[in-house]
């Protein structure tokens, strides 16, 4: 089984330095792309490979690039940004790549920047990834010294600057336009689309923001071709994917597997099944902002269309398992607390709606829930949908809630009618003052 992304990553070992990375074939794709291919050819190749954005939205990467204005009339400078602001709860796949093989990301970024003719690039990294920040800083410095970054890279006339920018820890910064605002030194509020960042992005110039995992795939596609990449996947989606499992499983972790590996295989083979004494109740397939899936969905392949058809989203591909001994209301409350806190406060439904939802769930968890609270939760799941809010944060927050209300509604009702959390040890209900 080919594992192009993680082949050189050994847990517990320091990442390959530049020399070692070059020895195993590193930076070959830079030579190939910059010397033998036109930017348009790189774009076309990536488009053909059917590489879909690994940040969660799953948009064809090559297609995204193709919206960048090219040619002498295009606005300059153009920017490439690696979105390393991995803040989705339950998601830790980019961290593996950042800490495990920083040069792979830099290589992918150089080729991607070349494809869109960007001259300045940024790695926008989550503040908490201190080790990754150290590794990337070193790797960027080494790449500059080796002539892979800077002016006239490898004598091809292509220039690229690269900077690491560490954020201050806002979930919003994972949204590409909010990330751009943050990078400009402004509030991390999302921007209106259109205009899309490909046309008016960082500092008003054409910009591509790609996820770390997406960018790490680029060198391999350049080296091995589109057909090879497509064949890596088990289903119609191409490539491999870094899948993760967390929750009460025997061996939680992150593994590179062919796109389309089934949920059951992930859960039972790679994660070793549920811990003893715990039963599977449900899972969030791609991070906190995706809909619950339950027992009946376990044989679905983890790829974009299959999960979408089941009413959820593949998201980041890193699943969180809900077991039978965890209160689903408390579980969802925890998530809503996160989302309410991470709302940027720009649009009304998200800013005011999420705290309301959070307060209701907390009240339920404390046994103070009222039947009408379910109606309030229902209208939030209805109206905090895409398009009604400014960006995807609140709709994402509603996904676990609406599916919890669908699959675990009786658990919510029990909280209300029994005036306490059935999972809680304190059973006696105390009226609130």
């Amino acid at each position: 089984m080919e594992k192009p992304l993680t082949q050189h990553i050994v847990p517990g070992r320091k990442p390959l330095n530049l020399k070692a990375y070059e020895k195993v074939g590193g930076y070959q794709s830079v030579r190939k792309a910059l010397k033998e291919m036109t930017p348009q050819e790189v774009q076309a190749l990536v488009k053909d490979s059917n590489l879909r954005g690994r940040g969660g939205a799953g948009f064809n990467t090559g297609l995204k690039w193709s919206f960048v204005p090219m040619g002498p009339d295009a606005a300059t400078p153009k920017y490439l940004v690696a979105n390393a602001d991995e803040m989705e709860p339950g998601t830790f796949k980019d961290r593996v790549l950042l800490e495990g093989n920083p040069h792979q990301l830099i290589e992918g970024m150089i080729v991607s920047a070349y494809a869109i003719q960007a001259s300045i690039s940024y790695v926008f990294m989550r503040w908490a990834y201190k080790l990754a920040a150290r590794e990337i800083t070193q790797a960027i410095q080494d790449a500059y010294e080796a002539g892979y970054l800077g002016k006239n890279i490898l004598g091809t006339g292509f220039d690229l600057e690269m900077h690491l920018h560490t954020g201050v820890g806002r979930y919003m910064c994972g949204e590409e336009t909010a990330l751009l605002n943050a990078l400009e030194g402004k509030r991390a509020n999302p921007r209106v689309k259109p205009p899309f960042p490909q046309v008016s992005g960082l500092f008003g110039k054409p910009t591509i923001v790609n996820n770390v995992e997406t960018l790490c795939n680029i060198p391999h596609i350049i080296n091995n071709g589109a057909e090879w990449f497509k064949k890596l996947g088990l289903t119609e989606d191409a490539g491999t994917k870094l899948y993760g499992v967390s929750g009460r499983v025997k061996t939680p972790g992150c593994w590179e597997l062919p796109m389309g590996t089934t949920i059951r295989e992930l859960l039972e083979v790679h994660a070793g099944g549920m811990q003893d004494g715990y039963l599977f109740k449900g899972l969030l397939p791609g991070g906190a902002s995706t809909d619950f899936l339950v027992e009946e969905h376990l044989d679905l392949p983890m790829d974009y269309p299959s999960i979408q058809n089941a009413g959820s989203r593949m998201g980041t591909g890193t699943m969180i398992i809900l077991d039978d001994q965890t209160c689903p209301v408390g579980f969802v409350h925890n998530l809503q607390h996160f989302f309410a806190q991470e709302s940027c406060g720009f649009c009304t439904p998200c800013r005011e709606g999420l705290p309301w939802v959070e307060k209701i769930l907390l009240a339920m968890d404390r046994g103070e829930g009222k039947p009408e609270h379910l109606l309030t939760l229902d209208f939030h799941t209805k109206y905090l949908g895409p398009g009604n809010t400014f960006c995807a944060l609140a709709p994402g927050a509603m996904e676990p809630l609406q599916s919890a209300l669908k699959y675990f509604r009786e658990d919510f009702e029990r909280h209300i009618h029994e005036h306490h959390c059935p999972w809680s040890k304190t059973t006696a209900w105390q009226p609130s003052i």
Binding site: A340, T348, G387
Partner: protein, 909 residues
């Protein structure tokens, strides 16, 4: 135009607008918060959601924010759709989770956009049962109150304050449902335009602090359309009164002049009307007691006039009508402008440039559309604040035209346009002797003495058109700058030259005129805007009259012995010694004014003149636009318009023409017949007999309360309401309730729209002209007969032992009447003299030390402020500031010390 279907009805709407603008322009009710016509859309509040359908077969539709959707031909939309309605009600529900239920004690209540929108959406019952979040408020200075708990986070305040008005000290802090809109710490908001926050804020976070001192609900105010008297721009205002005191000034939308905004001097300067320093009773100084009734005072004045040889001194802060009646009373030969002679000549020249030049003068709204601006010798923020605000918008024009339209971003899409153009700005060039707040936007700033500014201007004109004279001996550096400016102006589609009288230098005006003329000669759509000193300076110049100095001479040479001074403190017009000498020589001094001042102290007969809120009249602003202001409230008979006093005097004196007048309209008629240049002023507003459906226009809203009880402490029977013979407005609640002509809108209100946002309903299209055209009538059109001026000055050369004292202006402090408003007084700077830092070093003087100098015998001792920009050998002194005696600036100040300036090469011709 595009045809769209709203709830299955076809409507023709303007293409390129957003759906919200289209709906509001059609008169449909659709709630919104974050959108503002002057600032466009950002899509934050999600209040204006509507259903949009793909085509006529689509029955499901999807919710869209109408402010973010461009109108498309054939678009199918539903406002009434149940889901859309439910969503809009939920948005209010969300906002109400944290909004306090304090309408009853909130200053905004009754004029609150949030209240209106809440009622409009039908959100009646609160479902939210948890705690509300609370904040600590800030002290934001004398103008605004801050109550953050009421905030609905629409972002309008920061968008207005930072993005639109260029303020630095208001921002949004924190995140999620704990956003904070305020300053980094307590303190006075620095912007001169902060007061607009009270109107921009859709609820009661920012409210008028001066109104709070004498609070009245909007529905209890007696209001009338007024015109700001505090600078030459003539911004339209609404003045509100209750119980005989003026309560507030709010913006009166005029699509050509001030649009939605006022400056703080205009908004908060009104308090002088309520000042303890008002002249409230006629005074006859030779009687005891001095205070007397109207008729005794009139008789005394009439006998003084009969006995003496009379001259009249008019005023640029009095209405055309008052000046005209004075001129009539004393005779044209004896009518003098009550302004300094420098001021007199400069305003005449400005008028001449506008009339005989070739470039038209733009409205403030047109200034916003100009894409290259060159400002010569004007500190707009301090002399004509709203023009500075307009220039702030103009620097966005070039990138908006070049980039935003290219990227297919509609102009109303504010957030997208701003993130695209970022800090890019169109050309703005500043030439002045002191830093101004617009410098931060300037492509280049040029600091030098006024004569050198004029030289730069002439050099620019010469580069644009060779017929404009060459400037000899100009430095290479200045020539390069001139070239850059000339290129920028020539490349622009709407270049604009701004200058004015504030630097006191006629060459600067001439240079500006030459540039505009040169641009026109090169067939550019150029315009020229000139700032003049006071609200009716232009009107006075158009009326004509002698100089003040000739009035002094007439009395001192014994040609006259009696003077009538109209609304004018002569001690602000000429040196103390000269004015004292003049007044002491007069046998009888008759003064009409609002406030006690040094001149009224010298009056033998003092007549209380009604202020702008107690008078009808016409002002002509800097662009030559005649605008009518109306009396807000009835006054006791001892306080009346100056023209009223003077006409009564004329009647007593049996002046044939004056006695034939029976009211305001007759005066206007006589004025327009006599002065051809002012012929059109009668069109500025409908005559007093104007009626709609046989009714007058009420100054009071139909919800006005307390009418039968407010005077019950005096008399329990309801008095007959005062009559207004001079205007089509009534002092009551009764009258025509529909929309009056734009010039007589006493307040903006429409069913369901109690806040200032009701303005939408009075406009042809949202953010556009008022229905029936914007108020005011332009009296000046350029005829293009003036040749290029050849008066290129020589470069400024310092004079040993002297400082060339230049006037410095202050938004707060330089204008006479607003200086008497308590809130404004808190913002007036301390007196100072600004001198070149190197000169100071040479004189061994440092910041804060006193500099002693004299101008025309008047000795000054002022603390020093060091300036990096004032040229060596020159200095600046605040104009009109309380505590700084008048000097006719610019002038050579004699230093009481021996000092030699650095030798500068003398330019020779």
């Amino acid at each position: 135009m595009a045809t769209i279907y709203i709830d299955n009805k076809p409507y023709d709407v303007k293409a390129g607008k957003n759906l919200l603008e289209a709906c509001l322009s059609l008169g449909l009710d659709l709630p919104y918060f974050c959108y503002h016509p002057a600032m466009g859309s950002i899509g934050a509040c999600r209040q204006c959601a509507v259903k949009v359908y793909r085509d006529e077969n689509d029955t499901k539709g999807k919710l869209f924010m109408s402010c973010m959707e461009q109108v498309r031909e054939g678009m199918r939309v539903s406002i009434a759709d149940l889901e859309a309605k439910e969503f809009r009600a939920h948005v209010i529900g969300w906002l109400m989770t944290n909004h306090p239920h304090d309408c009853a004690v909130c200053d905004e209540g009754g004029s609150c956009h949030l209240q209106d929108m809440t009622v409009m959406t039908g959100h009646n019952y609160r479902q939210y049962r948890f705690d509300k979040r609370t904040y600590i408020n800030q002290n934001l200075g004398p103008f605004l109150n801050h109550e953050m708990n009421r905030c609905i986070q629409c972002y309008r305040c920061v968008r207005y304050y930072k993005d639109y008005a260029g303020g630095k000290d208001l921002d949004v802090y924190a995140a999620h449902n704990h956003l904070y809109f305020g300053r980094a710490e307590d303190g006075t908001l620095e912007s001169e335009f902060s007061g607009n926050l009270a109107e921009v804020c859709p609820t009661g976070v920012f409210t008028d602090k001066t109104l709070k001192q004498h609070y009245t609900r909007k529905w209890d105010l007696t209001s009338a359309p007024s015109v700001c008297h505090h600078c030459s721009l003539g911004c339209n205002t609404i003045a509100g009164e209750r119980y005989g005191t003026l309560r507030n000034i709010t913006n009166r939308y005029n699509g050509e002049v001030n649009g939605y905004f006022l400056c703080d001097r205009g908004r908060f300067g009104y308090e002088f009307v309520n000042s303890a320093g008002r002249v409230r009773m006629p005074l006859v100084r030779q009687m005891l007691p001095e205070a007397t009734d109207k008729y005794t005072a009139l008789k005394a004045a009439a006998s003084a006039l009969k006995a003496g040889r009379v001259i009249g001194i008019g005023s640029p802060r009095a209405s055309l009508e008052s000046n005209y009646v004075l001129r009539k009373l004393v005779g044209e030969d004896n009518f003098h402008h009550g302004v300094s002679d420098t001021n007199h000549d400069l305003v005449d020249m400005a008028l001449n440039i506008l009339c005989e030049g070739s470039a038209p003068t733009p409205t403030l709204q047109e200034i916003e559309q100009c894409d290259a601006v060159f400002i010569l010798g004007e500190d707009l923020t301090n002399t004509a604040p709203l023009m500075a605000l307009a220039v702030r918008q103009s620097v966005r024009q070039k990138p908006m035209l070049e980039q935003v339209s290219k990227a297919n971003i509609p102009v109303w899409q504010d957030a997208a346009a701003r993130s695209l153009i970022q800090s890019e700005q169109g050309p703005l060039f500043m030439a002045h002797y002191t830093p101004t707040k617009l410098d931060e936007l300037a492509t280049k700033t040029y600091f030098n003495a006024p004569d050198d500014i004029a030289r730069l201007g002439f050099a620019v004109a010469n580069l644009i058109h060779p017929d404009s004279p060459e400037v000899r001996g100009i430095s290479d550096e200045d020539q390069a700058l001139a070239q850059q400016i000339a290129d920028a102006l020539m490349q622009a589609s709407k270049p604009l030259v701004i200058s004015g009288t504030s630097s006191g230098n006629e060459r600067v005006l001439k240079a500006a005129a030459n540039i505009a003329h040169a641009l026109i000669a090169r067939e550019k759509a150029a315009s020229i805007s000139l700032v003049v000193p006071e609200c009716n300076s232009m009107g006075l110049a158009m009326m004509g009259g002698h100089k003040l100095e000739s009035a002094f001479e007439a009395v001192l040479n014994d040609y006259a012995d009696t003077v009538i001074i109209l609304e004018n403190d002569l001690f602000r017009r000429a040196s103390t010694a000269r004015v004292t000498q003049f007044l002491d020589r007069c046998e009888q001094v008759i003064v009409l004014d609002h406030l006690h001042n040094a001149t009224t102290e010298k009056a033998d007969i003092l007549l209380p003149a009604g202020t702008f809120s107690e008078a009808d009249g016409t002002l002509i602003n800097n662009e030559g636009r005649a605008q009518r202001f109306f009396q807000v409230h009835a006054t006791p008979e001892e306080i009346q318009e100056s023209w009223h006093w003077l006409a009564e005097l004329g009647t007593i004196m049996a002046d044939e023409q004056i006695s034939s007048w029976h009211g305001y309209d007759d005066i206007v008629k006589a004025l327009t017949n006599e002065i051809p240049a002012l012929r059109s002023i009668k069109k500025a507003a409908p005559p007093s007999d104007f009626r709609i459906a046989g009714q007058k226009i009420p100054r009071e809203p139909h919800r006005f309360s307390g009418r039968t009880s407010m005077l019950a402490n005096i008399n329990v029977s309801e008095p007959k309401p005062p009559q207004d013979p001079d205007s089509p407005l009534s002092y009551t609640m009764e009258g025509y309730r529909g929309q009056p002509p734009s010039s007589v809108i006493p307040f903006f209100w429409s069913p369901g729209w109690n806040s200032v946002q009701a303005t939408n309903k009075y406009q042809q299209e949202v953010g556009g002209h008022l229905k029936g055209g914007d108020p005011g009538i332009r009296l000046i059109e350029p005829i293009g007969t003036a040749p290029f001026s050849v008066a290129v000055p020589q470069a400024f050369v310092p004079l040993e032992g002297h400082l060339f004292m230049l006037p410095l202006h202050h938004t707060f402090g330089s204008e006479e009447l607003s200086n008497q408003a308590a809130a404004i007084q808190e913002r007036i700077p301390e007196p100072y003299v600004a001198i070149n830092a190197t000169d100071a070093q040479r004189m061994k003087l440092s910041e804060g030390q006193l500099l002693s100098f004299s101008i025309e015998g008047q000795v000054y001792q002022l603390p020093i402020k060091l300036s990096q920009t004032i040229p060596s050998g020159a200095a600046g002194m605040p104009n009109g500031l309380p505590g700084v005696p008048f000097a006719e600036l610019p002038a050579w100040a004699i230093l009481n010390r021996d000092i030699k300036w650095k030798k500068q090469p003398q330019t020779t011709f």
